[in-house]
Symmetry: none
Subunit: 425 residues, 2 copies
């Protein structure tokens, strides 16, 4: 038994709306453990809906339709389905009553076009719509050569979702689905490329339960471990040994699970150590401070910083040497180090991080090209280091800035972990 999602709506083909319904239903089917291999979008057109049905009933036994249940003439889904199975439509009085009541509640009268929404194929059950006027249906067509079950939902996401939760989930559970749950854990990595990580854990991609699959996203790589089991505890028991194995292989490149971010991991490390942080930002203009303060409660460890976009600000608020600015330039190791020390001192914190660089697209020279970034890190013990990055000019200003903020967080994370391990030994 496999399911197929069929979204009906010319507005989807024209790109007027984003297909969030398909995304929602895909997640819900995965959660119930119902296999689902195809999604189709088709316009408000009876002949083409018939074509799609013809294909779908050959390969799937549960067809989930969204869209095309409204009162206007271009809403054709119910009609097209009934027609395909040569089944007449009948007006359901309970639907008429329900629609009339809903209109009465908002002081309006039901109009004749709404009567259309009460037409349901003979033999189908109504799938009630508590928040809108368009009901759906659950139609188990045993007479078909391959038995098929059709569910229809309106296209309005909030109505569809409520109907799914209230009626469809209990229906599928009564058929025995959703007994085995699918549970996933996402592991997040930084400082290693997708292909390099994939090579290291290649042997795990062949596992079947749990499965391991890679995902790339901006500035990090993720591996998803998914297990199918009768309970969450049993799924976790399948996942954890594999997760530990991957974490061992990845070492410091592993930074957290899905609920964690580089920012939250760094924040927790600082909180645990009762240490504070200040930032000095040039080319990121406040982006590092902004991401640190996305976390509620970040005031426990984050005190603030200086956005030193102009060189004069680097001198006046961060005590960067004017001579060094002249000699080495604003984008240099010495200036990054002095910015980190300066902000640590000015804000009286345990740690100071600084960023200075050329985000692009302009401002690069042969010696100092676009993408050249220095990150300074002043530690609680009074030492200071700086790190050079060459991000290049291909990714664009915005991504260069984002990666730089992530690099700064990751440097601090690695530094704290290395210090902690050292102390522990």
């Amino acid at each position: 038994m496999t399911a197929e999602i069929i979204c009906v709506g010319t507005e989807l083909l024209l790109g007027d709306i984003l297909n969030t319904n398909c995304h929602y239903l895909a997640q819900e089917l995965a959660a119930l453990g119902i296999p689902h291999y195809y999604q189709t979008v088709v316009g408000d057109n009876v002949a083409r809906i018939h074509q799609v049905l013809e294909i779908a009933i050959k390969r799937s036994s549960i067809l989930i339709f969204t869209g095309g249940l409204g009162p206007t003439p271009d809403d054709l889904t119910t009609e097209a389905i009934a027609d395909y199975f040569q089944t007449p439509l009948e007006e359901r009085s309970e639907v008429i009553d329900d629609i009339a009541q809903k209109f009465a509640k908002i002081g309006r009268k039901m109009i004749s076009s709404n009567r259309k929404q009460a037409l349901i194929p003979v033999g189908a059950n109504i799938l009630p719509n508590p928040t809108g006027t368009a009901p759906g249906m659950i139609w188990q067509i045993a007479s078909n050569p391959d038995p098929v079950t059709i569910l229809t939902f309106p296209g309005v996401p909030s109505e569809m979702q409520r109907m799914w939760q209230d009626t469809a989930i209990p229906f599928f559970k009564s058929l025995g689905w959703g007994q085995d749950i699918i549970y996933s854990k996402m592991l997040r990595f930084r400082g290693i490329g997708e292909s390099s990580l994939a090579e290291k854990v290649n042997h795990l991609f062949k596992l079947t339960n749990p499965t391991v699959a890679p995902y790339a996203s901006k500035g990090e790589v993720r591996l998803r471990i998914s297990a199918k089991a009768p309970s969450e505890a049993e799924a976790i028991a399948l996942i954890e040994p594999v997760a530990h194995q991957i974490q061992e292989i990845a070492g410091l490149d592993y930074f957290g699970t899905n609920e964690q971010s580089l920012t939250s991991v760094v924040g927790q490390l600082l909180r645990d150590r009762k240490e504070t942080l200040a930032v000095a930002e040039s080319c990121t203009g406040g982006g590092l401070g902004a991401i640190l303060t996305e976390i509620p409660g970040s005031s426990d460890y984050f005190r603030g910083g200086v956005i030193a976009y102009a060189n004069e600000v680097k001198q006046s608020l961060l005590q960067v040497s004017g001579d060094d600015l002249a000699q080495f330039g604003a984008v240099s190791d010495p200036v990054a180090q002095q910015m980190a020390i300066g902000v640590k001192k000015a804000l009286n914190t345990s740690w100071g991080i600084s960023i200075t660089g050329i985000a692009g697209p302009g401002g690069g020279t042969e010696e100092k090209p676009v993408g050249l970034i220095y990150i300074g890190l002043a530690s609680p013990d009074g030492t200071v280091e700086s790190f050079e990055y060459r991000l290049g000019n291909v990714r664009g200003r915005s991504l260069n800035r984002h990666l730089t903020v992530c690099n700064a967080l990751d440097l601090l994370r690695r530094k704290i972990l290395i210090i902690s391990t050292f102390i522990r030994i």
Copy 2:
């Protein structure tokens, strides 16, 4: 000739990601005038990709694939397509060179799994990927009983979009599509709700060429004016009178067109007036500085600022009175005003903007609830004002912070426009 979009990726079936690629491509096909009746999503599985191809080539003559071009073993799209048409794959040296160069630029070595991305069916043309390692292809298969053209794109939206714009659009135009162009102008508004603006311009929604349609997005409202005409100049001639009419109706609530943002509009105003700006941020933690410096060249007018997350920083770097902090609290008119004056003085700028507030979800009291924000504005003439906002607790921390940054930019924009008009009179 009709097109069909086929998105390949098990992550789409599992509901891990939202299918924004399909939405983008649907809009682009509509803009080119290429009819498109079906969209299909299928997993990373050769047999099922074959099934989908079998169906699609019977009903569509242009197949647009996204996803499954990466270096890992589950990326099977190219292989599955070549196999279906019984065409061998060949390694293209220009792709190998391109990938190697991209790796070299970021100081890494190409690894063996990337070689897979250089395998393209014999007879297919490469569709270059300027920003990533996975190229696509344009394959015109004349030998097929019904001639079919296949285009493939990687699943990463930014890469796919760039490839579409750079190569696919010129390709389709060379085939005669997109001669009547659809040209749009987006007008952007701030400080007025979608329904209020809609009421004011209601009479324009009935127009057919150009059409006027509203879009709501985070922190602003947009109206899109679209015209269809044989040339861009003719489309613009249809659009401009309507755009002017709307701008007159909206007054100061209109801030720019699509290429403009609040940030770029404010930046241009400051640049024109040869004025400079500094920011003092508490609850936004650097978000205002970060958005101001998204714009290349913002150093012309933005000098930097102070992230004064802790109260001690407000006192030490911004000279906020400790007595006032104690008496009125950090989230208050007097503190916002002193922060704005303080940062203007410390960074020696024409303007100082400050933000202090309770972003949530915690930290609110009955007197000072979550969402209470004060924005201070110190002007070149030495005056200072502050503005109170009550954003409430329903939108969440992230949106409250975003709206606050937008409010700060908008305050400065309105202030400068009012001053300029006054001087002009």
